[in-house]
């Protein structure tokens, strides 16, 4: 089989995310690529949660609406998702709690509640039990599940194994689905890969490139970067701080940078609002800072746990005054890893703010992660951007804001014997002392603009725009961020070209125009209501003929986009 989708649903508190990851790990061991979308409301207990786990022989980064198996821990799951079932689909459910009357597809009811009761197992173990049954139905060998449970169940492993086995054995009696999921002999099978969220990939990319401090105030969907950094702080020697507000966060990151420590911060739109005064300080004082900005549905509190691409223009323009910034929008875990490292490096090389602009989908979805495919951003950097080349050479008097051709002044960190290192939020002279002189005002502005131009030149060596699908097609989809995966897949089916703009500032005008050669119809695909990339591209004279926009907080499924494209291109 090439594609296999499973949806597991229950109430918040049932451990649906973790159950989805367990399913993902099973398929990963069978040699599949994984993508998992996790849907949850903004509450701790109750409410409907589901994980949609898709396994594919090809690299994927999008979900499909139709599913092969529905795992229902409660009645609501059946009611909400039975429309996703195909004729060949299968429903596995807790027969003690769920009825599937009126569903024409085959079902496998397991007496989960009873099994748990007899084993005196806690309620959360229903996941292990039903996944045991699932493996039998789908045809995943017991030893594969055993391997996953042994590796990933930290507590009460024996009991988990026991209830999983009972689920498996009960399913064996009367349930079977001819899925061929277990066909390890398939030539396309790959070695099992780690399964990471985009936020975990971002964290690792930053760590790889030399991050030394992470400062954040929790905000969905960025919080898991903070969680990851805090958990592994000791292992990697990273200083992790969760202070009083995003205002403090942004200033702390710059205090670190002033003292020579590479720092990043993370937030979502509301938190980023608070960071903007500090962002402008970074622009004026030329302090490197990396911002992980994970978008969710706005305005204001919006939908905290759902997605959007509504903050591109906010991030492009945030902060008073004019100063250069780097913005990259990765589309999957590998890009998140690679470009986060690049962002850290560019922030320091050009002493500018660097943004990793994601959304709930890239940040919180699970992806098969291939570190070799992602690439080693540091090997590329070593030649040109070793930290040493950015540092003051120790000759003469140190001037923090010395004028140079590139606009970039060499860095020095206190203490430096006999030298004074001054940084300043006011307009300042080369020494970092406040000035209101018109000539200095103009020169420092020019200096900042030169840095932006140097940054743009440096980016020429990176793949800031990517082309997928049929590169000869005259019809192209224009996308950014998390829509990469769904666009690539839909375009492949329809024989279209896909152009993904990875770097949004400095805008890769030349590369985008090259990618557009031969295109006579350009469709923007975005998760916002105003076509933010389309408008940005329009500023550079690039016209989009159609806009396919989704702004209900949910990502495009492959079927969604195919249907939209079908209508648009009819």
């Amino acid at each position: 089989m090439d594609n296999f989708s499973t949806l597991i649903g229950g109430i918040a508190g049932d451990g649906i995310n973790e159950a989805g990851i367990t399913l993902a790990r099973l398929f990963s061991r069978l040699g599949y690529h994984i993508y998992m979308y996790y849907d949850y409301p903004s509450l701790i207990r109750g409410g409907h949660n589901f994980s949609l786990v898709r396994a594919s022989r090809q690299k994927i980064a999008a979900h499909m609406d139709q599913i092969d198996v529905l795992i229902a821990l409660n009645q609501e799951t059946v009611e909400k998702h039975s429309m996703r079932l195909k004729d060949s689909s299968f429903v596995i459910y807790d027969a003690d709690k769920v009825k599937i009357d009126g569903i024409k597809q085959k079902g496998c009811g397991l007496t989960i509640t009873q099994i748990l009761k007899e084993a005196a197992a806690p309620a959360v173990m229903k996941n292990s039990c039903i996944i045991g049954g699932y493996c039998k139905v789908v045809g995943i060998d017991w030893h594969v599940l055993e391997d996953v449970l042994k590796k990933h169940i930290p507590k009460m492993l024996e009991l988990n194994m026991q209830v999983a086995r009972q689920g498996y054995d009960q399913a064996a009696l009367f349930c079977h689905m001819d899925s061929h999921a277990n066909s390890r002999t398939d030539k396309q099978a790959q070695e099992p890969q780690p399964i990471l969220t985009g936020n975990q990939a971002i964290s690792l990319g930053l760590i790889k490139a030399g991050l030394e401090a992470y400062v954040a105030y929790p905000m969905t969907p960025s919080s898991s970067v903070l969680d990851f950094m805090a958990r592994y702080a000791q292992d990697f020697g990273i200083k992790v701080i969760h202070p009083e507000s995003e205002i403090a966060v942004m200033l702390m990151a710059q205090g670190f940078a002033y003292a020579g420590i590479k720092a990043a911060v993370g937030t979502s739109g509301g938190g980023f609002c608070l960071m903007t005064e500090g962002l402008s300080l970074a622009g004026m004082a030329e302090i490197p800072v990396v911002v992980v900005m994970a978008q969710r549905t706005g305005p204001s509190t919006g939908l905290p746990t759902y997605t959007a691409q509504g903050d591109l223009h906010f991030v492009l323009n945030a902060g008073q005054g004019e100063f250069p910034r780097f913005i990259v929008a990765p589309g999957d875990a590998e890009e998140a890893y690679y470009w986060s490292g690049v962002a850290l490096d560019l922030a320091w090389k050009f002493q500018v703010p660097a943004f990793i602009l994601t959304d709930k989908i890239v940040s919180e979805s699970q992806y098969s992660f291939d570190i070799d495919l992602a690439g080693d951003m540091t090997s590329e950097l070593k030649e040109q951007t070793q930290q040493a080349s950015l540092l003051w050479d120790g000759q003469g008097k140190y001037k923090r804001y010395r004028y140079t051709d590139t606009g970039v002044s060499p860095l020095a960190f206190p203490p430096q014997k006999g030298q004074v290192i001054k940084t300043d939020s006011y307009t300042h002279d080369e020494d970092g002392i406040t000035s209101e002189d018109p000539q200095i005002t103009r020169e420092t502005s020019d200096k900042r603009q030169r840095k932006g131009q140097s940054l743009a030149r440096d980016l020429e060596r990176y793949e800031t725009v990517k082309v997928f699908g049929d590169e000869k097609s005259k019809t192209a989809l224009l996308c950014w961020g998390s829509n990469k995966g769904v666009c690539v897949e839909a375009a492949r089916k329809l024989g279209l070209r896909v152009i993904q703009v990875l770097v949004l500032s400095p805008f890769p005008e030349g590369k985008l125009k090259s990618a557009l050669q031969g295109v006579d119809r350009l469709l923007a695909v975005e998760c916002n209501s105003t076509g933010q990339l389309a408008r940005l591209a329009g500023f550079y004279g690039i016209k989009t003929q159609d806009w396919i926009l989704k702004y209900d907080g949910r990502p495009f499924s492959v079927e969604d986009l195919q249907a939209e494209l079908g209508r648009a291109l009819a």
């Binding site: 292992d235 990151a253 205090g255 005064e277 992660f369």
Partner: protein
């Protein structure tokens, strides 16, 4: 080192008679003294907010981070955590730290992070030409409160005491000797040191006469006693002027500090590759 070595070429734009001159002179003398005692001035970083007080960093030839309004402490905190060998001294105003950045002040005290904060407490917004601040008395007629401020002032020392500051003192810009003593104590203190300086603004809130009449230096107090410090601190609430105003070191204890919790450890990047690959195995 001579205090004169700590002067920059920047032209001073404080009003003649401004209390900030006393704070700057006292600080230059203390830093020069510390330098000759073996604590080199290049290990000092000055951090300021925005306001008349903040110009001090332009006038002092010392490492500095001229921050934004109210945000002195978070920047300073990270500098200290980044390099514990640095002495980080913050200059802030009453508008700066008690209005715009009050949360940072409370958290710095709560963390007892090893920083010194000098509050240039002139009880008026000077740079914006005369509005009331959190320490202006009730009835203060400023440009934004022409009928008189409705609110009572806050007592920053009392706030600092309950928030966890481990060194609390008050000085007055007419007592430069005392300022030197306090500044040095505060800088050498391990923990969050809060120094409220009654700094006279000659242009918008000239309190010389009032302060000369009512200030006195506390003698023989037990600075390790929370209750005693609280009693002294509460004896003047910044509102009525017709009561004695205590000056001097009011509270000092040794207690755990936030900055102690970070290992002074910088990992070799080549070590990270192996660790990342090993960590990824956990995610298979």
């Amino acid at each position: 080192m001579n205090p004169k070595d700590l002067v920059t070429t920047a032209r001073n734009t404080w009003c003649p008679g401004c209390g900030n001159f006393s704070i700057m002179s006292a600080m230059r003398m203390v830093l020069a003294e510390l330098d000759s005692e073996g604590f080199p001035v290049e290990n000092v970083v000055l951090v300021s907010g925005i306001g008349c007080h903040a110009k001090i960093v332009d006038y002092m030839n010392v490492n500095s981070f001229y921050s934004i309004h109210g945000r002195t402490l978070p920047a300073a905190s990270a500098i200290k955590i980044a390099n514990p060998d640095l002495k980080v001294i913050c200059f802030s105003g009453d508008g700066d730290s008690l209005a715009e950045g009050l949360d940072h002040l409370i958290f710095a005290a709560k963390r007892n992070i090893d920083l010194t904060l000098i509050l240039h407490d002139n009880r008026v917004y000077g740079l914006t030409t005369g509005q009331y601040t959190p320490t202006s008395p009730q009835g203060f007629k400023g440009k934004s409160t022409p009928a008189g401020a409705v609110e009572h002032p806050m007592n920053p020392l009392e706030l600092m005491l309950v928030s966890g500051a481990s060194y609390i003192a008050r000085g007055y810009t007419h007592g430069i000797q005392q300022l030197q003593t306090i500044f040095k104590e505060a800088i050498l203190h391990k923990g969050f040191s809060f120094v409220d300086v009654l700094q006279v603004c000659v242009s918008y809130n000239n309190q010389y006469e009032n302060y000369n009449k009512w200030t006195y230096t506390v003698q023989g107090n037990d600075a390790s006693s929370f209750e005693e410090a609280q009693k002294i601190i509460r004896s003047w609430n910044y509102d009525s002027s017709a009561v004695p105003i205590p000056l001097g070191r009011l509270y000092q204890i040794e207690t755990q500090r936030f900055d102690q919790t970070f290992a002074p450890y910088r990992q070799n990047l080549s070590e990270r590759d192996g660790k990342i690959k090993a960590l990824l195995e956990n995610f298979v």
